[in-house]
């Protein structure tokens, strides 16, 4: 009886360890799910060939809005040049954003994009973007940053407005400690 108890205990321990692993497996699973569904506005970066395949749909006009946010009271100016654009699906457009470091020390920022509504996220394609790059701005330095994007004509019919939001995070600490693993572009 003693040895059968030990075997049960061993099996159950293995089960517990496997479930600990499953907890970590939820991270890539979640990313895959977000990619498939466009959840959280995670949009695709797409190759040139795919873009060439798009036919311009002049009959449809989509409003694209730009929103900027600074995380946790970061002392930068961060604004879109234009807050709204009227675009046709399939055609390439450029929008630009303005950033300025208002402080007297250099700061490394990192912009994270998000697209709303979720059903549009997979159809909003950025061919050139400053997202996910570490951007160093010296004290008082300012910069103009372009985004080139195209909307996939397969965008669901009910979507009339797409919002592209950028959030700038201050990652100076992480970068300075040189333990960053955030350059994942």
């Amino acid at each position: 009886m003693k040895s059968s108890s030990n075997i049960s205990a061993l099996k159950l321990c293995f089960f517990a360890v496997a479930m600990f692993g499953f907890g970590y497996a939820l991270v890539p699973l979640y990313d895959v799910l977000c990619d498939i569904t466009g959840l959280n506005g995670k949009s695709d970066n797409v190759t040139q060939q795919q873009q060439a395949n798009f036919e311009v749909d002049e009959s449809r006009t989509i409003t694209v809005e730009f929103i900027t946010t600074l995380n946790q009271g970061m002392s930068w100016d961060f604004e879109p040049e234009t807050t709204k654009m009227q675009v046709h699906p399939g055609k390439s457009y450029q929008a630009s954003f303005f950033v300025k470091n208002k402080t007297n020390r250099s700061i490394v920022g990192q912009a994270i994009p998000s697209v709303a509504p979720f059903s549009a996220a997979n159809h909003f394609i950025k061919t050139e973007c400053f997202c996910f790059n570490n951007q160093l701005l010296e004290a008082g330095q300012s910069l103009e940053m372009p985004v080139v994007f195209v909307i996939n004509p397969a965008l669901p019919k009910h979507v009339k407005t797409v919002t592209l939001s950028y959030t700038y995070f201050d990652v100076s600490n992480t970068v300075n400690k040189s333990i960053n693993n955030i350059d994942n572009t």
Partner: protein, 538 residues
């Protein structure tokens, strides 16, 4: 079977408790630990209610208030309800299945003795720079990552609590699968054993997921990972998914053993066999299965696709079916029974009624469009307190009254037991019922201050909370008095108590069954003939 001194060759004094591998000693340790934590968590609840007696900031600063709500939850869940159920499992499972002891006695000792250290560490965070954890027991990042020095201590103590309950669960499963007396087939096991078997599997499945989630918080904070850090491409919502993948099975971990307790008590005092034994087993298993696929109903408002919201809404509502089966079975057990109303029965009946109220408010919360209104309000607070206080806690109290004469060999005072019952039942409703109203009117949870129009109901709730808190002192006094003396309990204790534990002496011998008991005799009580004889007797 009599207890002789030769049976009990164990060290005396404090070393008896430190080194014990006996399931009864460890059960006692778990139950006392839980009892002590119940008062510590209760004092925190009273601090919360004192501050909320009036609008405005009166007694404590908001940061401390928030750490009180956070700690109250962690202590009541991990320090009170879970250890109390593990204590009951230790005491009862070997006796109920006709075994000698738990299958893995040394691991049993270890799994208990981790707990006092874990909770000392948890409570010590209150004295650290930046105070204790104050971001809610759900530890959502990024807020929880702003905790001061306390964060790593909180995370490590959660690791310890997790290890303790995983070891306890492994022990329960190994005991049930290997230590049953000959003739004790799975479908003859008492429901308390069944519900604990399923609970133990839930624990082994989800506690490691929580451990993984909080470890990710730890590495995000101190080692530069970006699991939940948006700046690094992570996502804070991912934590909510991981947390509630643990969290929803956890709420069934907190309630399933109480279903087992109530299923043991109701037949005794209704003097009828449990109605629908096998449907009870299947209902418990269905609830456990469904608990894994409903977690996102805790996060309807984070922005999910419509299909997801619908799936989680309907899956959640489906849980009402097996739960309803249980409630109807308990009612059918009482139907036309020869009922008497001793204290354990009173607590069990109150459990059925009040738990069902909590279940109904849960159904309201499951409706996605309505949940946008209820989310993070006092309505949610009312809901989960109805299922946890008159649910889990009442079942634990009922279990203590029911089995205490068996454990100690003394009867408790029925007068004080009933006084305790009526005060608890009245005050628990005075405390938590008004929370439904302020919640529906829009009072958010986890705030130290509130709009003036909520004052009246908050004052009523505070009065109820103090009444409920002080009523528990009666329980404490009564338990101590019963351990020390009182009328001698018979072996059977209750007129119609059935199950192998009642065939042992009161108090039972140190090692439960040294010779295999006769399972058939006890099982045959579940047949119709017995019911007929009882009916003619009454």
């Amino acid at each position: 079977m009599s207890t002789t001194a030769a049976d009990e060759h164990h060290p005396s004094g404090i070393m008896r408790w430190v080194t014990t591998t006996n399931h009864k000693d460890i059960g006692t340790l778990y139950l006392w630990f839980s009892f002590i934590m119940f008062f510590i968590g209760g004092i925190m609840a009273l601090i919360i209610r004192t501050e909320l007696f009036q609008p405005g900031i009166q007694f404590v600063d908001p940061q401390f208030f928030n750490s009180m709500t956070t700690m109250h939850a962690i202590i009541m869940i991990f320090g009170v309800v879970m250890p109390a159920f593990t204590g009951l499992a230790n005491w009862l499972i070997p006796m109920m299945i006709g075994g000698t002891d738990m299958a893995l006695p040394r691991m049993n000792n270890w799994s208990f003795w981790i707990l006092p250290f874990a909770f000392t560490m948890m409570l010590s965070t209150l004295f650290m720079d930046g105070g204790g954890p104050a971001g809610g027991w759900t530890l959502y990042p990024p807020l929880s990552l702003q905790t001061g020095d306390a964060l790593p201590f909180v995370i490590f103590s959660i690791h310890f609590m997790g290890m303790s309950s995983i070891m306890g669960a492994i022990n329960v499963v190994a005991t049930i699968l290997n230590m049953r007396a000959p003739g004790m087939t799975l479908m003859k096991m008492p429901l308390f054993v069944w519900t604990w078997l399923i609970t133990a599997y839930l624990l082994i499945a989800v506690m490691p997921v929580l451990a993984g989630g909080v470890t990710m918080l730890l590495t995000d904070k101190f080692f530069g990972t970006s699991f939940f850090n948006a700046a690094g491409g992570g996502d804070p919502v991912l934590f909510q998914h991981i947390f509630w993948f643990f969290g929803h099975p956890e709420v069934y971990i907190l309630i399933l053993p109480s279903f087992g307790v109530v299923s043991s008590i109701i037949p005794t005092f209704a003097r009828k066999p449990l109605f629908g034994y096998s449907s009870m087993v299947y209902a418990t298993a269905s609830i456990a299965f469904l608990s894994f696929i409903v977690w996102a109903h805790h996060m309807f408002t984070v922005g999910m696709p419509l299909a997801g919201e619908l799936f989680f809404m309907f899956a959640t509502m489906l849980i009402a079916v097996p739960t309803g089966v249980k409630v109807f079975n308990w009612i059918c057990t009482m139907w036309r029974g020869a009922m008497t109303f001793e204290t354990p029965m009173l607590f069990s009946i109150a459990f059925i009624i009040l738990f069902t109220i909590g279940g109904f408010s849960g159904l309201m919360l499951a409706i996605t469009p309505a949940d946008f209104q209820y989310h993070d309000t006092y309505f949610v607070v009312a809901h989960f307190h109805y299922v946890l206080v008159p649910g889990s806690i009442f079942a634990i109290i009922a279990a203590v009254y029911y089995w205490l004469p068996k454990w100690t060999g003394h009867m408790y005072s029925e007068f004080w037991g009933k006084t305790h019952f009526w005060l608890s039942t009245i005050f628990v409703n005075v405390t938590f019922f008004p929370m439904h109203f302020v919640g529906l009117a829009g009072m958010p949870r986890r705030i130290p201050d509130y709009a003036l129009q909520f004052s009246d109901y908050n004052q009523i709730a505070t009065i109820g909370a103090f009444g409920f808190g002080f009523s528990q002192l009666i329980f404490l006094g009564l338990v101590i008095a019963t351990i020390r003396g009182g009328a001698t309990a018979t072996d059977r204790v209750w007129e119609d108590a059935h199950g192998l534990e009642w065939t042992l002496s009161s108090p039972p011998p140190y090692h439960s069954f040294t010779t295999p008991p006769n399972v058939e005799d006890e099982w045959n009580w579940f047949t119709r003939e017995h019911y007929e004889t009882v009916k003619t007797r009454s």
